[in-house]
Assembly symmetry: C2
Homo-oligomer: 459 residues x 2
C-alpha cells in the first residue's frame, strides 16, 4: 500500500511539472487530505501555492491543517486576504489554534485579523491555556443541548448546527449558565424508541470530564482507558468550555511515547520530527547529556586510579571491567525501563514501591546467579583454556563472577528504585533511564569488583 | 481525580464486605464499566462473583470485557449456563474473540457452546486470522447499506440494526456480493438536505481500506494519520469482512510503543503488564539478552588482554576505558533510538538512508569535537592538577580525547546505520538499539584507543 502510494505521488508531481492542471485537479479531488498534504513535502517553494490553488475550498482547508508549519507559513504569506479568509473559515478552532501556535508573530496577527470574531475569540482563549493542558488541545465547537428538549428537537438542532462542529456524535446537555449536566450520543438519539422522549430521561448523568488545567497526558490516558470519542472540558465551576476529541488524544499518546523514548536514551525531547531537524538541532538535544555523563565518568576514573596497584598485581582483572560494567548497565536499564513504561501507562503507582522492589529482587537474584554461573564456565573454557591466558586463576574467575552477581542485583535495585523516587518528587521518571543508571552502576560495579579482589586475591 | 477515585474504591469495597448490597448496587449503576472492572483487582477470589452479580445485564457485559483474564476465567468457570449466555449475548464479537484468545481450551469450548451460532462463527473466523493482523482485531458487526437506498431508508436501517453494532457512525455501502463500494457517515446522513437523496450520490467512493492480512501496526498508523473512527477490512476480492475501530487502534499503538521500548532495552516483549508478571516471567524476558551481551563482551576482554603490555607501560590509560566506552555507547544509542522511533512512526523510510547518514555525520562531528575539547580540559584540570595524577601526561590526555572524538563519530554512524539495515532486511529495527550497539561500540572504542596509544605513546 505504502509503496503503491509512492508511485502515485511521483506521477502527480510529474503532472504538476508538466502543467497538466485539469487532470491533476480531478485526481486531487478524490484523495484524502492527509495524502494531499504529503505531496507538498516533495515540492519546491514556488510550486507549493501552485498545487494548493488546484484544491477546492473545503479540501484546501483540510489539507492545510495536515501540512508542515513551513509550508503553511509560506502559503499564508502568499495568500491574498480573501484566500486567507476562505481557508480560515473552513478550519476547526483547535486546528486553527495549533497553526497559530507555530507561526511567527506577524503571521499570527494577520491570521487573527482575518478570522471571524467568534473564531478569533476562541483561538485566543485556547492559546491562553498552559501548554500541554487539556485547554490547549480542546476545541470550542461542540453540539450543546438543553435538558427539556425532545429527541426530535435534539436531532433537528444537530442537523442545523452540526456542519461546523468537529464531532456531532457526542452532544452535551447544559443548563442556562453552561453548567455541564449530562451527555447524549447520536446513537442514543437515533435508537430512542420515542421521538418525544425528553433528553433529561436518556442522558448519561454520571459524567467523566476534565478541567482546562488537566495535563494532556492524563487526558489521553482517559481516552485509552474509556474508549471515548470526545471528552468534555470544564472550568473551575463545572461550566463547559470545550471538548477534546479522540484524534487529538491519539496524537498526544504518540508524542508522549516519543518523548519518553528520547528521555530514556539521554536526549532532550524535540518537537521537530527527525527529517526536519538540522544537525545543529540534534547536536543541541544530545550534547548536554553526553557532556554530563562524560564528566560524571570522572568517578570511575578515580576508582580505577586508586586501585592501580591492584590492577598491576593482577593484570587479568582489567580485561573484565567492560563486561562487568556493560552487564550491570544492561541489567539496570532493563529494570528502569520496565518501571518507567508501567508508570507512564498508569499501571504502576508510587504506593506499589514495596511490591516492585520485592519483584525485582527475586528477578535480580535469578539473573545474577544464572549470569555468574555461565560467566564462570565461559571464562574458564574460552579465556583460560582456549586462549591460554594463564593470568586467569580459579580465584580470579571467582572474583569476576561474584562481582558480576552482586553488580546485577545492585543494578536492578537501583534501576527500579530511581524512577519510583523520581515519580515521588514529581519528576519525569523517564530521565532515570539507562544513561543515568549506567553512570551509577559503573561506579558501583567497580567498587564491588575491587572489594572482592581485595578479599579473595589480597591485592 | 485519580486520588479521589481511590477513596471511592475503598468505600465500595468496604460496603461489599459489610454486605450493603442495595446501596452498592445503586452506586455501581452510575459508574463507568472501566472503573467497575478496576474494582475487581482489589478483590479476593470468592468476592468476585458476588460483586459481579450486583451489576445489571448490560453493565455486566461491558465490565466483563474490561476485566483481567484471570478474573474473567474465574467468573466463566463459576457461571451457570444461563449466566454465561446472558453475558455472551451482550458482548461485541471482537471483544468476545479477545476473551476467547486468553482462555484455556476447556473454557473456550464452553464459551463457543453457549454463544449463539452467528457469534460463534464470527469468533471462529476472527481467531483464524494470523496474530497481529487486521483480521485478528476486527469486529464483524457494522452497519451495511445499499447503493440505491435513500437517506431516509438508511437512517431507518441504522435505527433497526444499530443497537448491536460496535459503531453506527460509519456505514459501509456494499453491493450484492458484499464488495465494498463506499462509505457514508451518520453525519452525512443527518446533514443531508434532502431525505430522498440516494446513498450513491452522497457516499465517499475513494476509500481507504485494509485487508485481513494487513499488519495491525500499519492499521494503527493509518488511524493516527487519517483520524478515522473505523476502517473497513476486506478480503482478497475487496469483499467486506469487518471493521477495525479507533479504540482498538489506540490499544495497538500503545502496545507497539511498549514493545519497541522493551526491545530497545534488551528485553523480549511481554504481553503481560508488569504487575501481572512473576519474577520468573521477568527473568525469562531479560536473561537471553543479558547472556548474549555478557558472552559477546569476550571481544572486549580479548582486546584488552592483547594490549596488556601497553596498559602496564602507561597505567593512566586504564582509568579512561569506562568513560570512553560509556560515552561511545550513549552517543550510539542516541542515534539508533532516534532512527528507530522515526522508522516506527513511519516518518523515515529505507530510501532516506543517505540523508540520515549525512545528517548523523555532521551531528557526530560536532558532538565529537565538543566532547573532546571539554574532556581534554577536564582531564588536565581535575585528574592531573586537582588529583595530582602525574601519570597523565599531555600526550596521554591527547590520546584519550582523540580516541573519544573518533569513537563518538563511529558510534553515531553505527547507531544510525544498523536500524536502517534491519529495516531493509525486514527485521524489527528496535532490536538494533542500545545494548546491541554498545557491544559493537565497546570493541570499536578500545581498538581506536589502543591504536592512538601505539601511535602517540609508542607503547
Amino acid at each position: 500500500m505504502a509503496e503503491r502510494f509512492e508511485i502515485v505521488e511521483k506521477a502527480l508531481l510529474t503532472m504538476l511539472e508538466e502543467k497538466k492542471y485539469a487532470v491533476l485537479k480531478d485526481i486531487l479531488v478524490t484523495m484524502n487530505p492527509s495524502d494531499v498534504a504529503g505531496l507538498f513535502d516533495g515540492l519546491e517553494e514556488k510550486q507549493i501555492p501552485l498545487l494548493f490553488r488546484l484544491l477546492n475550498k473545503e479540501q484546501a482547508a483540510e489539507t492545510f491543517v495536515e501540512m508542515e508549519p513551513d509550508a503553511q507559513e509560506l502559503l499564508i504569506r502568499g495568500f491574498s486576504d480573501n484566500e486567507l479568509k476562505e481557508v480560515l473559515d473552513e478550519l476547526y478552532v483547535d486546528d486553527a489554534a495549533d497553526i497559530v501556535e507555530e507561526m511567527p508573530a506577524n503571521v499570527v496577527k494577520r491570521i487573527l485579523k482575518h478570522a471571524d470574531p467568534e473564531m478569533r475569540s476562541s483561538i485566543n482563549q485556547i492559546l491562553r491555556y498552559p501548554e500541554y493542558s487539556a485547554g490547549s488541545i480542546m476545541t470550542t465547537e461542540y453540539v450543546s443541548l438543553r435538558l427539556h428538549m425532545t429527541v426530535e428537537e435534539a436531532i433537528l438542532r444537530i442537523r442545523r448546527q452540526g456542519v461546523d462542529k468537529e464531532t456531532i456524535y457526542t452532544c452535551y446537555v447544559l443548563d442556562k449558565d453552561r453548567t455541564l449536566l449530562g451527555l447524549v450520543t447520536v446513537k442514543d438519539l437515533l435508537l430512542a424508541e420515542d421521538d418525544s422522549t425528553e433528553i433529561a430521561d436518556i442522558m448519561v448523568k454520571n459524567l467523566i470530564y476534565v478541567t482546562t488545567q488537566t495535563d494532556q497526558e492524563e487526558v489521553a490516558r482517559m481516552f485509552s482507558k474509556y474508549n471515548f470519542l470526545a471528552l468534555p472540558v470544564v472550568d473551575g465551576e463545572r461550566r463547559m468550555v470545550g471538548i477534546v476529541t479522540f484524534d487529538d488524544a491519539m496524537d498526544v499518546l504518540e508524542e508522549e511515547a516519543t518523548e519518553d523514548i528520547e528521555l530514556m536514551s539521554g536526549m532532550t525531547p524535540s518537537e521537530k520530527p527527525y527529517l526536519k531537524s538540522s544537525p545543529v538541532d540534534l547536536f543541541k538535544n544530545r550534547i548536554p547529556w553526553l557532556m554530563l555523563m562524560m564528566v560524571s565518568a570522572t568517578f570511575t576514573s578515580l576508582i580505577i586510579t586508586s586501585f592501580e596497584d591492584a590492577l598491576a598485581a593482577q593484570v587479568a582483572l582489567t580485561a573484565f571491567i567492560p563486561m562487568l560494567m556493560g552487564t550491570g548497565g544492561n541489567s539496570g536499564s532493563q529494570a528502569s525501563v520496565t518501571v518507567i513504561r508501567s508508570l507512564s501507562l498508569g499501571e504502576l503507582k508510587f504506593r506499589d514501591i514495596g511490591m516492585v522492589l520485592w519483584k525485582e529482587i527475586r528477578t535480580a537474584v535469578m539473573c545474577g546467579i544464572a549470569l555468574a554461573i555461565v560467566c564462570f564456565i565461559k571464562i574458564w573454557l574460552v579465556d583460560r583454556l582456549l586462549m591460554g591466558n594463564t593470568h586467569i586463576t580459579f580465584l580470579v574467575d571467582l572474583v569476576v563472577c561474584l562481582a558480576l552477581c552482586v553488580t546485577v542485583i545492585a543494578a536492578k535495585m537501583v534501576g527500579c528504585m530511581l524512577p519510583m523516587a523520581a515519580k515521588a518528587v514529581k519528576l519525569d521518571p523517564a530521565v532515570m533511564a539507562s544513561p543515568f543508571i549506567s553512570t551509577i552502576v559503573d561506579a558501583l560495579s567497580l567498587l564491588v569488583y575491587f572489594l572482592f579482589a581485595k578479599m579473595l586475591l589480597g591485592v
